[in-house]
């Protein structure tokens, strides 16, 4: 920490960011909640791996518990807290990270985009001199309008193919990282909108034609910051997708988690809703001008590198 500008320390930025996020959602009538960190059934997704914790698991996201709160009648909830994902370690990933999630009953993905458009300029005010020097266009862009680019448009322009004409998840994942993300403009925040059904995750799929998952991702200066969607509410479709992923995971030798009975019990009461997840560490990284999310952590890691090297094998 430099004595001259302690307020520019990533930890001080983190403090201001979290305070600003809370103020934003509090003003809009959201209820702040804390749901369990240790869970019996982490939300089973194709490419997300949970860390075991004494006969249970550490949550990979609070998504299912927060949807249970919506099912119980709460109209707008948010949570800022730790999440854990096995094997994710890099400049923009850390096995333990802080996530902001928010959900609105009666909303769709574009309502969440409105939330974000209101939130980003406030966050832009928190950028340090280092961040402004390092990412001038991106930081100035936080006050500008979010630019919406469809996934189809981006793939055709940057990767030369259309994921709606060729259902190829492997190629999609590869080209998203290698071609589309580097191609995205960096002078304004960008939303990639409307994913192919095979990349829907838990988003509602608009029947079309063509069928499009009502899901979007926000990028700031090429950094993926928010994932949002109109949430799937159909219990049968949840079961179908999770069963499909379970088969694929088992075939890859990856652990298959139990379906969460309490979540499935609550699902019939889940109202139409939309939700989003924002990586707080990445946001702090951007606003403090850090190169890596590691630089935004309060203390150096004390879990040895090998401890989370690989997703635990099937038992």
């Amino acid at each position: 920490m430099t004595a001259a500008a302690p307020s520019d320390h990533p930890l001080a930025v983190r403090h201001r960011v979290v305070r600003a996020l809370r103020a934003f959602f509090d003003q809009r009538g959201f209820l702040e909640v804390q749901t369990p960190v240790r869970v019996a059934a982490p939300a089973l997704e194709l490419n997300i791996h949970a860390i075991p914790a004494g006969g249970a698991w550490l949550r990979t996201s609070p998504e299912f518990h927060m949807k249970r709160l919506l099912a119980a009648g709460w109209p707008a909830v948010y949570q800022i807290g730790p999440c854990f994902r096995a094997g994710e370690r890099g400049a923009r990933h850390h096995p333990e990270f802080t996530m902001l999630e928010w959900y609105r009953a009666g909303a769709r993905a574009n309502d969440i985009l409105d939330d974000l458009q209101a939130l980003l300029p406030t966050l832009g005010e928190l950028a340090t001199a280092t961040a402004i020097a390092r990412r001038p266009a991106a930081i100035a862009g936080l006050k500008a309008s979010i630019r919406v680019i469809t996934v189809s448009e981006a793939f055709r322009a940057a990767a030369g193919w259309d994921p709606w004409r060729e259902e190829n998840p492997d190629r999609f994942d590869h080209d998203l990282g290698e071609r589309v993300e580097p191609w995205l403009p960096r002078d304004t925040p960008v939303v990639l909108w409307g994913y192919p059904p095979f990349a829907a995750a838990f988003a509602k799929v608009d029947a079309g034609p063509p069928p499009i998952a009502e899901r979007w991702e926000l990028y700031v200066d090429g950094v993926e910051l928010v994932n949002a969607c109109t949430e799937l509410t159909d219990p049968a479709e949840y079961r179908r997708r999770q069963a499909e992923w379970a088969v694929l995971r088992a075939a890859r030798g990856q652990p298959v988690y139990p379906f969460d009975p309490a979540f499935y019990e609550a699902l019939p009461s889940l109202p139409p809703c939309a939700g989003a997840a924002l990586g707080v560490d990445r946001l702090v990284m951007l606003l403090a001008g850090c190169e890596s999310v590691i630089d935004t952590l309060a203390t150096p890691e004390d879990v040895p590198l090998q401890a989370d090297a690989r997703p635990p094998a099937v038992e």
């Binding site: 490419n47 998840p169 590869h174 993300e181």
Partner: protein
């Protein structure tokens, strides 16, 4: 076998029978997609680097690699003989395997051998700097220590390198065995 999640900087892997070292490593995971491990890998035989992206499901070979610290013993025709001081096992290395390292050998100097499937593929000096006497060069230009101008010179083993203008025949210079380059003048013998 390794899986992609074992990859990190410094890990030695094997692809199509060739050993590589991961020299740069990036974990990326766009959207809800599969994790990708973007690596720059160095071929441990040719020392050339290339970029390679691995996916989460990829299986990656584990090379049979061993490091042995040995001492230089003697030259035997076309071979250079090194001895493990503990087991007295001898390693006969060719000029080709040693590369420029052969010019910097001295009695009992310690080198570390990198052995892949029983074949020596790398030789590094345990102490990377060696001192060698200049036996051939243009007469030294006194006082010129500031410029970066260099001239050719030869050491007793026949190795040629570039040295500053003030260096004379008989001067002892320090050489970095990793680059084969002149480092500094250490005196006269």
């Amino acid at each position: 076998m390794y899986t992609a999640s074992d990859l990190r900087k410094g890990l030695k892997i094997e692809l199509d029978g060739v050993p590589y070292e991961v020299v740069e490593f990036n974990f990326v995971k766009p959207g809800k997609g599969q994790a990708m491990y973007k690596c720059r890998i160095k071929n441990l035989i040719t020392q050339t680097t290339q970029d390679r992206t691995f996916r989460e499901v990829d299986q990656i070979g584990k090379p049979d690699l061993e490091e042995r610290v040995v001492q230089y013993s003697y030259e035997d025709g076309h071979h250079y003989v090194f001895t493990d001081p503990h087991t007295f096992e001898e390693f006969h290395l060719t000029e080709e395997t040693l590369g420029d390292a052969r010019y910097f050998l001295s009695d009992n100097v310690e080198v570390s051998l990198l052995i892949h499937n029983g074949r020596v593929i790398g030789v590094e000096f345990v102490k990377p700097f060696v001192e060698k006497q200049i036996v051939e060069t243009e007469p030294g230009v006194r006082g010129d220590t500031a410029t970066n101008v260099t001239k050719p010179a030869k050491i007793d083993t026949g190795y040629e390198l570039r040295v500053p203008l003030f260096i004379d025949v008989g001067d002892v210079v320090r050489i970095d065995t990793r680059t084969g380059e002149y480092v500094e003048r250490v005196g006269r013998r």
